[in-house]
């Protein structure tokens, strides 16, 4: 019997993206550069997060024509972003046959109370999270991949580190609890008990855990991998740097050889200027993207 869109099929693509780099691109030309540099997938969006930050205003799903252009330009998977709670943008992205939908805090949320019911879709979803409770709520809604939110568009990796450490730390802590305590943990995490029990038993999330938000250098990518992320998203970090093609190749190599310091020296050398960065701690509350979603 043939079945499409099973949980195994949806999660399976995330599993095949492990150890790879998913790069933000805004047009077909950037997508080609990303693919030629070894990106495992591209994220099609209208403006990279640092431009969204600079320009302000409402950030929305990209023009389908741009997404189609990118799909035609490359053979690697193409992802695209929908606003939090904007299930119609997600329906449009599904009809475009993007390979993954990112229900993303980088865009302006469309619903202040509800995320998208991702079970209602055949296309798989990735969602951001800052802690384990948020990750498990997204998984309960049908997300098949979790990424740290980090603080997109800053070039400051500190928030991504905080989020991955928080998620991994809370997973470890669940492993030390007994059955009664897991009930309380589920209540405190505001996450379904069944998922909490599964995570406590297996010591990991039931879907791949990737990292995003502020990754700007090969060393940042290797840092996230050593902290337990299984793959990295790089947004503004590539195409807002001085030499995107070279930096893209370097981040790809660093993600593969994340434990090999000699290789990290080699790939970190002479890359030119990184993106223009913002210190995440100095942003005002209303400038923070990671607080979007709940």
């Amino acid at each position: 019997m043939r079945d499409e869109s099973t949980i195994r099929v949806k999660t399976g693509l995330a599993e095949m993206l492990r150890g790879g780099v998913i790069m933000d691109v805004v047009d077909a030309e950037q997508a080609r550069i990303a693919e030629a540099a070894g990106a495992a997938a591209v994220m099609a969006l209208e403006r990279v997060p640092s431009d969204i930050r600079r320009d302000g205003g409402v950030a929305r799903m990209s023009d389908p024509e741009m997404i189609k252009g990118i799909q035609e330009a490359v053979s690697i998977p193409v992802m695209a972003k929908a606003r939090i709670g904007h299930f119609v943008e997600a329906q449009i992205l599904q009809a475009l046959e993007v390979d993954y939908v990112d229900e993303s805090e980088v865009l302006t949320p469309a619903d202040e109370a509800n995320h998208i019911d991702k079970w209602a879709f055949d296309v798989p979803f990735v969602c951001g999270a800052t802690n384990l409770g948020e990750a498990l709520r997204r998984i309960a809604e049908g997300a098949c991949m979790i990424r740290s939110k980090g603080e997109a568009g800053t070039g400051d990796v500190v928030e991504a580190v905080r989020h991955i450490r928080s998620i991994r730390g809370e997973i470890k802590r669940l492993g030390t609890l007994d059955g009664a305590e897991l009930g309380t943990a589920a209540k405190n995490l505001q996450a379904p008990l069944e998922l909490v029990r599964w995570v406590a038993r297996e010591g990991k999330l039931p879907v791949p855990l990737f990292s995003a938000g502020g990754i700007a250098t090969p060393a940042d990518a290797a840092l996230m991998m050593q902290l337990g992320a299984e793959s990295v998203f790089v947004g503004s970090g590539i195409f807002k740097s001085e030499d995107p093609a070279r930096r893209a190749e370097a981040v790809v190599a660093a993600t593969t050889h994340f434990q090999d310091a000699a290789r990290l020296v080699e790939v970190s050398t002479g890359l030119g200027q990184a993106m223009q960065s913002l210190e995440a701690r100095k942003l005002a509350d209303d400038e923070l993207l990671a607080g979007r979603g709940w």
């Binding site: 949806k10 150890g19 599904q94 990991k204 790809v252």
Partner: protein, 209 residues
């Protein structure tokens, strides 16, 4: 044999040493199943990583990413030599593409990438694999390729699995390649048979590397 869901897999077994090409892709699921079948697993990222292996897995992932990684690491020739040494080699999805004429050229086959469509057309299906006992396996196809052409060889290539008329499994001597992901289910029969074949080959061809 069946392996429980999840978990990070048991420690290395005392069995044969099997490498998994770990430039990018679905490495951990293969590692888990191979270890459960008693193998010692090594991740391979450089030509030096191929030394001392009794068998090799080319996993799923993005074939473009892996092909660029192979070029960057100078792995193409060492991988061809490994395949020619007669040691068992298991390739899944992108790994199968790597074996074809347009990539490593290990087998005289041509593959069509994303032959079933984009992710939304990814599927799972019961597939009978020739020579595998106890009925069909649940095969998971993720943006999967298919084999579109099989040349006369050498080496000779035999079709061992098909779905909807598409060739999705081939074998040539000790080399087996599948368009699907046997590592994404808890049915370990393909891995069990592969580990047994590696053990039987017993590193006798190791000097050829």
């Amino acid at each position: 044999m069946s392996v429980g869901e999840g978990g990070t897999g048991s420690a290395d077994g005392r069995g044969p040493v099997i490498g998994i090409l770990a430039l990018q892709g679905g490495v951990v699921e293969h590692a888990q199943l191979l270890r459960a079948c008693g193998a010692t697993v090594r991740e391979v990222r450089t030509p030096a990583g191929l030394e001392g292996l009794d068998g090799l897995v080319l996993p799923g992932g993005e074939s473009t990413t892996m092909t660029l990684g192979i070029a960057r690491e100078g792995l193409a020739e060492p991988l061809r030599r490994f395949a020619a040494s007669g040691r068992p080699l298991l390739a899944t999805c992108a790994g199968l593409i790597l074996l074809d004429r347009d990539h490593l050229g290990v087998l005289p086959i041509a593959c069509e990438r994303n032959a079933f469509g984009r992710q939304i057309r990814s599927f799972e299906s019961d597939v009978t694999v020739a020579g595998l006992d106890d009925g069909p396996i649940r095969a998971v196809f993720i943006r999967a390729p298919r084999v579109t052409e099989i040349g006369p060889g050498p080496p000779g290539v035999e079709v061992v699995a098909e779905v909807d008329g598409a060739v999705v499994g081939v074998r040539s001597g000790a080399i087996e390649g599948y368009a699907f992901h046997p590592e994404l289910t808890d049915d370990a029969r393909i891995h069990e048979r592969f580990v047994a074949a590696v053990a039987a080959a017993g590193g006798g061809a190791r000097d050829a590397a």
